[in-house]
């Protein structure tokens, strides 16, 4: 597709809405899928990047999420909540990745830390500490129930309560309660893992 088409599509599709485009915009599955890709890709990568801390990995996981979307038999007919499905799937993949990396992270943290540093920080010590703190947060998230980790990640990425309800497939009225429980679980896990070293 050429640049002009991309431009046009992106203008038409508000990047923050999770409503699938109508049939007049895309008549076939492929066209529909392409429009969805451009609509949601950047946001999905952003959420995953924050979660896994590695841009290349985030793009790979985003690609996996879109690949799964492409394979959904309902994609052709459904005008459903595609954005919600994508974010739920992407965060699940991200959390799975963190869990799978769990053991490796214990051995590799020094290397990962070095990889993630920019090398241009005004205060290298502060950058190292900050990377270490981020790593701890990821480890804690990896130990939480998926639903808890998911809601915390999406909320931290600016999802409103109605976005969260839509993405996680829950009633709007229960989002506050879910957040409270997820935060309590996060704190408890953080204290269990790092309580001796720092206070939350």
């Amino acid at each position: 597709m050429d640049a002009a088409t991309v431009e046009e599509r992106r203008d038409v599709l508000s990047p923050d809405r999770t409503v699938i485009i109508g049939n007049e915009e895309a008549n076939s599955k492929d066209a529909k899928f392409e429009a969805l890709f451009f609509k949601f890709y950047s946001r999905v990568v952003r959420v995953l990047y924050g979660l896994v801390g590695d841009r290349a990995r985030a793009e790979e996981l985003a690609s996996d999420a879109f690949w799964r979307l492409y394979r959904q038999p309902w994609l052709e007919q459904s005008d459903g909540n595609v954005g919600g499905w994508l974010h739920r799937t992407a965060t699940n993949l991200g959390i799975d990745h963190l869990r799978a990396q769990g053991r490796r992270m214990q051995h590799m943290e020094g290397v990962e830390r070095a990889e993630n540093l920019s090398g241009h920080a005004a205060n290298p010590l502060e950058e190292i500490l900050s990377a270490e703190r981020a790593l701890r947060v990821r480890r804690v998230l990896a130990r939480l129930k998926t639903s808890h980790a998911q809601i915390l990640i999406l909320r931290a990425n600016g999802f409103s309560y109605s976005d969260l309800a839509e993405s996680l497939g829950v009633r709007l009225g229960t989002v506050g309660t879910m957040l409270v429980r997820a935060e309590a679980a996060f704190q408890k896990q953080y204290r269990r893992m790092y309580g001796k070293e720092e206070a939350l």
């Binding site: 890709y41 879109f66 038999p73 804690v140 309560y161 009225g173 957040l179 409270v180 704190q187």
Partner: protein, 394 residues
């Protein structure tokens, strides 16, 4: 008003309440010291967590160039991989049905073996299982793909299998033959073709295949843990047990224009009207599976099916109807289509009707076992044509 629950206080903190509701809560908070205190505690907790999670904030988005680049990469990936939109697609992707089918047997057996109860078994091969019947089992692919509930992806299982399976006999290029008699001669069994089709099929004979797997208890347990089944503990006696599969030579006859297993840029994509004539007939003598003796297959299979997303009751009911020593289990995604048993070729067969494949065309796959040979007939269009076509085999 009564004291609000934590969820409502949390929504108030996030300004996620309607104005009247928020005002009502304000009035309550002004009068209720307990709730003010709870609100303060919640606020502190939320702020603490928010600060932690803010550490994960990535650099600002790099914009549309990335999306365009990624779209190009995605298209390349789409071209490189077979189109696994449905079981139908996978049947084509695998192209040679017996390989795919045997993989199903192996997956189920491995999954079953991984739940082995605490008994010791001799390290000798005893049972040679042969397929006499096919049973379809609907599986919840989301449970395996990790879309919901945090279970990990099928990728992990795939990785596990590829790490542990040793291929003992391999053949990936079929030998093209001119007709049924040549195919029969090469394969060692009487090959049949569709009498109702007057066009000449492309016939290929694929060599024998064999693979085996030595069970590694530690890795299996790790896989189970990752799958969220850490409540199931594997018996130490399964460590080192051997499962072996042997697939005899198979014959595939392709009628009309059919999709290639992989997209090929040099060939223009097929239109739905082209695909209407596509039929793929595969026949293979039953694969054999050698497993350690004394396996309680129904019990183990019940557990394995639960791991793939089936409820305990459904799994039990399903397994009660299956003779595990002679039944090939064919997993199909729950949402991919429907299936029914039907009379075909003088025996009982299974007809799977698949919903939209490419260009929204429906498809079917008919499977049956007769005289020790497994047959599969796969095509586009209405499933109604499957049985008459199969009955015309000669």
């Amino acid at each position: 008003m009564n004291c609000p629950d934590d969820g409502r206080l949390r929504a108030k903190l996030d300004d996620e309440m309607s104005v009247p509701e928020s005002q009502e809560l304000d009035r309550h908070l002004a009068a209720c010291g307990d709730c003010r205190l709870r609100m303060e505690t919640l606020s502190k907790s939320a702020e603490g967590v928010r600060e932690r999670l803010a550490l994960l904030a990535p650099v600002p988005d790099q914009g549309r160039d990335d999306a365009r680049f990624s779209w190009a990469r995605f298209l390349a990936r789409q071209r490189a991989e077979p189109q696994p939109t449905s079981v139908f697609a996978r049947l084509f992707a695998a192209r040679f049905r017996p390989v795919w089918a045997a993989a199903g047997v192996v997956v189920v057996l491995i999954a079953s073996l991984s739940f082995a109860p605490g008994r010791s078994w001799a390290q000798r091969l005893l049972d040679m299982l042969r397929v006499q019947k096919i049973a379809v089992v609907p599986v919840d692919t989301q449970a395996l793909e990790g879309v919901q509930g945090g279970s990990p992806s099928g990728k992990m299982i795939g990785q596990f299998l590829s790490d542990n399976i040793v291929v003992t006999m391999h053949s990936d290029q079929p030998q093209t033959v001119a007709d049924a008699s040549q195919a029969s001669q090469l394969s060692g069994f009487r090959v049949r073709l569709l009498g109702d089709r007057t066009d000449a099929p492309k016939i290929g004979v694929l060599g024998e295949q064999g693979f085996q797997m030595t069970l590694n208890r530690e890795r299996l347990q790790g896989l189970l843990d990752e799958l969220g089944h850490n409540d199931l503990q594997l018996a130490t006696s399964i460590d080192g047990a051997l499962v072996a599969v042997h697939i005899p030579k198979s014959v595939t006859a392709v009628y009309g224009q059919c999709p290639q297993p992989k997209k090929d840029d040099s060939v223009p994509p097929l239109k739905p009207s082209d695909l209407a004539g596509c039929v793929i007939l595969t026949q293979v003598p039953s694969p054999t599976v050698s497993v350690p003796p004394d396996l309680n297959l129904p019990q183990l299979a019940t557990l394995a099916l639960q791991a793939s997303g089936m409820s305990a009751e459904d799994a039990q009911a399903f397994c009660a109807t299956v003779d595990w020593t002679s039944t090939l289990l064919l997993p199909i995604p729950r949402d991919a289509g429907s299936y029914e048993t039907t009379n075909v070729d003088g025996v009982e067969g299974t007809l799977i009707t698949l919903r939209g494949y490419r260009q929204g065309m429906a498809g079917y796959s008919l499977l049956w076992v007769k005289g020790g040979i497994i047959y599969s007939l796969t095509g586009f269009g209405g499933a109604g044509q499957a049985v008459p076509l199969a009955d015309s085999l000669q």
